[in-house]
C-alpha cells in the first residue's frame, strides 16, 4: 500500500491537480456549447486507446485470447476518438456558419 504511494507519488499529484484544472477550465460554459463540450470531452476519454496500444505491443503473438480482447478494446476506443472528434467538429461547424 505505502509502496504504491511511494512509487506513484507524481501520478497522484497529477491526478489531484488535474481535477482542479478540469473544474477551472469548464466552470463557465455557455449553454450553446454544452453538447459540443460534452462530445469533445467524450472523445478525449478515448485516450484509453494508448493503453490498448501498449497492451497489444507487448502481447505474445501466439496468445490469441489476449490479442482478440485487446483488439476489441482498441477498436472501441478508436470509434470513441474518431467518432467523437468528427461529430463535435460537425456540430461546431454549424455554429460557426451563423456568426457571419
Amino acid at each position: 500500500m505505502l509502496e504504491f504511494f511511494n512509487e506513484n507519488m507524481l501520478s497522484i499529484y497529477l491526478l489531484i491537480f488535474t481535477v482542479f484544472l478540469g473544474f477551472e477550465l469548464i466552470s463557465k460554459v455557455p449553454t450553446v456549447l454544452h453538447t459540443p463540450l460534452m462530445s469533445g470531452a467524450n472523445a478525449i476519454s478515448g485516450i484509453v486507446m494508448v493503453g490498448s496500444i501498449i497492451f497489444l505491443r507487448l502481447t505474445d503473438p501466439g496468445d490469441y485470447v489476449s490479442l482478440t480482447i485487446g483488439l476489441i478494446a482498441m477498436i472501441m476506443a478508436v470509434i470513441n476518438i474518431v467518432g467523437g472528434f468528427a461529430v463535435t467538429n460537425r456540430m461546431l461547424s454549424m455554429f460557426k456558419k451563423k456568426k457571419n
Binding site: L37, S45, V50
Partner: protein, 462 residues
C-alpha cells in the same frame, strides 16, 4: 531516447488542456476541438513507437493497424451520417465504447496477472476498480442509447422499489469485486464483470425524461474516470491526465444540469421523475381550448413579439426546419421572434441549441431561462413546440408535484400560449400539465411539423 516520447506525451497533454479550454468559448470552440484531436494524434503516435521494456517487443503492428482502420471507419461514418436529431444517442454510444474499452483492457490485464508478482502491489486493486467503473459506463451508456433511440421505454426497465434494488446491486457488485481480489480466477473475474454490467444497466434504468441530460453527462464523467484508472495500470501520465480532465468536466456539467433543475444529484439518480407518477393530479373535469391552424396564423401575424419554446418533441417531429420557416416569415412582417431555451430541454445538455443551429437560427435569438422569463411580460404569443415539463406551472405552485421547485419558463405570463401536442396524454413522466387548462392557453393538436406547415399555408394567405 525515451525522453523524446515523454516530451511528446507532454505536448499531447498540453493540447488536451488548451483544447478543452477552447471548447468552453464559442469563438474558439472549433479550434479547441481540433487542438484536442491533434493532442490525441500525438499521444497515439508516441505510443506506437514508445520504446517498451523487454528484449524483444512483439509490437503486433498488424493487429494495431487493423483496429485503427476498422475503428476509424466505423467512427467516422457514423459521425458523418447521423441525423442531428439522433445526436444524443450517438454521443451516448461513443461514450459507452470508451468505458467498454477500459473494461476489456482491465479484464485481460487481470487474466494475465502473474499471481506471485501481484500480491505485493496495488495493481490488482486498480485493475478491479477500472473494471467496476468501465462496466458501469459501458452498460449504462448502452441503456441510455436504447432509451434515447426509443428502443426501450422507461416503464419496461423500471422495477418496483428500484432505488433499493440499485443500492443492493451496488453493494453486491462492490462486494463481489472485493471477493475477486481475494479469490482471483477467470471465473470470479468474469462473474464480477457481469454483475458490474448489470449494475450499470440498472443504475440508468429509473432515470428518464428531463433527467436524461444529467445522466448523459454523468456517464461521460464515469468514462473519464475509467480511462484515468486504466492510466494507473500502465503508469501512463497522459491517460491519467486525459481521463481526469474528462471526469472533472463531466462532473461540472452534471452539476450545472442539476442546478438547472434545482435538484440534487442523488435525487436524480434515485429517479425522482419516474418514481413518483402519483403527482398526476386530477384534472378530470377541466377542459382545454383547442384552436385551428388558421386561428394560430392570425394570432401570430398580428402580434409584435413571439417566443418559441422548443422541447424534445421538436426533435422527435423534426420540426426545426418548419420553425425556421415560420421565424423567417414573421421576421419579414416585423414580428420579433425569440427562443426560450430551458437548460434541460431535450435529452442532452444543450440539445436544443444544436437543433436550432442546424437550421441556421442565429444564436443571439436564443434566450436562456432567465432572459426568457424577462421577455415574457411583453410577449404576445408563445409557441410551445414539443416542450412539456419545462413549461409546467406545477413546478412553481404545486408542492405535491415531483417537479416542484424546478425553475421553468413561465410561458403562461405571456398574453397567449399555443401548445403543439399530439394528444392529451401526459408528458414523459406521466405528470399532468396544468398549463393546458389555463385560460390563455390554446391547444393545437397534431404532429408539430404538420401543424407548423398548416400555419405557414394559412399565414401566407392573410
Amino acid at each position: 531516447m525515451e525522453v523524446y516520447f515523454q516530451l511528446a506525451y507532454l505536448i499531447g497533454a498540453i493540447c488536451f488542456i488548451l483544447g478543452l479550454r477552447g471548447l468552453s468559448d464559442p469563438k474558439s470552440a472549433r479550434k479547441g476541438n481540433i487542438i484536442a484531436a491533434l493532442g490525441m494524434g500525438i499521444a497515439v503516435v508516441a505510443s506506437l513507437f514508445y520504446p517498451l521494456e523487454g528484449d524483444v517487443v512483439p509490437n503486433n503492428y498488424g493487429w494495431i493497424a487493423g483496429a485503427i482502420l476498422v475503428g476509424s471507419a466505423i467512427g467516422f461514418l457514423s459521425a458523418i451520417r447521423v441525423q442531428m436529431t439522433a445526436m444524443p444517442q450517438l454521443i451516448s454510444i461513443f461514450n459507452g465504447l470508451g468505458g467498454g474499452s477500459a473494461m476489456f483492457l482491465a479484464l485481460i490485464e487481470f487474466l494475465n496477472l502473474d499471481p506471485a508478482q501481484s500480491s505485493s502491489t496495488l495493481l490488482p486493486v486498480i485493475i478491479l476498480f477500472t473494471i467496476f467503473v468501465g462496466s458501469i459506463s459501458f452498460s449504462g451508456s448502452i441503456l441510455a442509447y436504447l432509451k434515447l433511440d426509443g428502443k426501450v421505454n422507461d416503464k419496461q426497465v423500471v422495477l418496483p422499489n428500484h432505488q433499493y434494488i440499485n443500492i443492493f446491486l451496488m453493494l453486491f457488485s462492490i462486494a463481489f469485486v472485493v471477493f475477486t481480489y481475494f479469490v482471483p480466477s477467470p471465473v470470479t473475474i468474469i462473474i464480477s464483470v457481469i454483475i458490474c454490467l448489470i449494475y450499470g444497466f440498472s443504475f440508468v434504468a429509473p432515470i428518464g425524461g428531463a433527467d436524461m441530460p444529467v445522466v448523459i453527462s454523468l456517464l461521460n464523467s464515469v468514462t473519464g474516470i475509467s480511462a484515468a484508472a486504466a492510466g494507473f495500470i500502465y503508469d501512463n501520465q497522459i491517460m491519467i491526465l486525459g481521463g481526469v480532465l474528462v471526469g472533472a468536466a463531466g462532473t461540472i456539467l452534471t452539476i450545472l444540469m442539476c442546478e438547472a433543475m434545482n435538484r440534487s444529484l442523488i435525487n436524480v439518480i434515485i429517479g425522482g421523475f419516474t418514481a413518483s407518477g402519483d403527482a398526476a393530479g386530477d384534472q378530470g373535469d377541466q377542459t382545454v381550448i383547442s384552436l385551428s391552424p388558421m386561428d394560430a396564423a392570425i394570432l401570430l401575424k398580428y402580434s409584435s413579439k413571439v417566443m418559441m419554446v422548443p422541447g424534445y418533441g421538436m426533435a422527435v417531429a423534426q420540426a426545426q426546419k418548419q420553425t425556421k420557416e415560420l421565424d423567417d416569415f414573421l421576421a419579414k412582417n416585423d414580428v420579433e421572434v425569440v427562443y426560450g431555451i430551458h437548460p434541460v430541454a431535450g435529452r442532452m445538455p444543450g440539445h436544443m441549441n444544436v437543433l436550432l443551429a442546424e437550421v441556421d437560427i442565429s444564436y443571439d435569438k436564443l434566450c436562456d431561462l432567465e432572459e426568457s422569463n424577462n421577455h415574457l411580460s411583453d410577449t404576445d404569443v408563445v409557441l410551445v413546440v414539443g416542450a412539456n415539463d419545462v413549461v409546467n406551472p406545477s413546478a412553481i405552485d404545486d408542492p405535491g408535484s415531483s417537479i416542484y421547485g424546478m425553475p421553468v419558463i413561465e410561458v403562461w405570463r405571456a398574453k397567449q400560449v399555443i401548445v403543439f401536442k399530439r394528444s392529451m396524454n401526459p408528458g414523459y413522466a406521466g405528470i399532468q400539465n396544468p398549463l393546458f387548462f389555463k385560460g390563455n392557453t390554446k391547444m393545437l393538436f397534431g404532429d408539430a411539423t404538420d401543424s407548423l406547415k398548416k400555419i405557414m399555408e394559412e399565414i401566407k394567405t392573410l
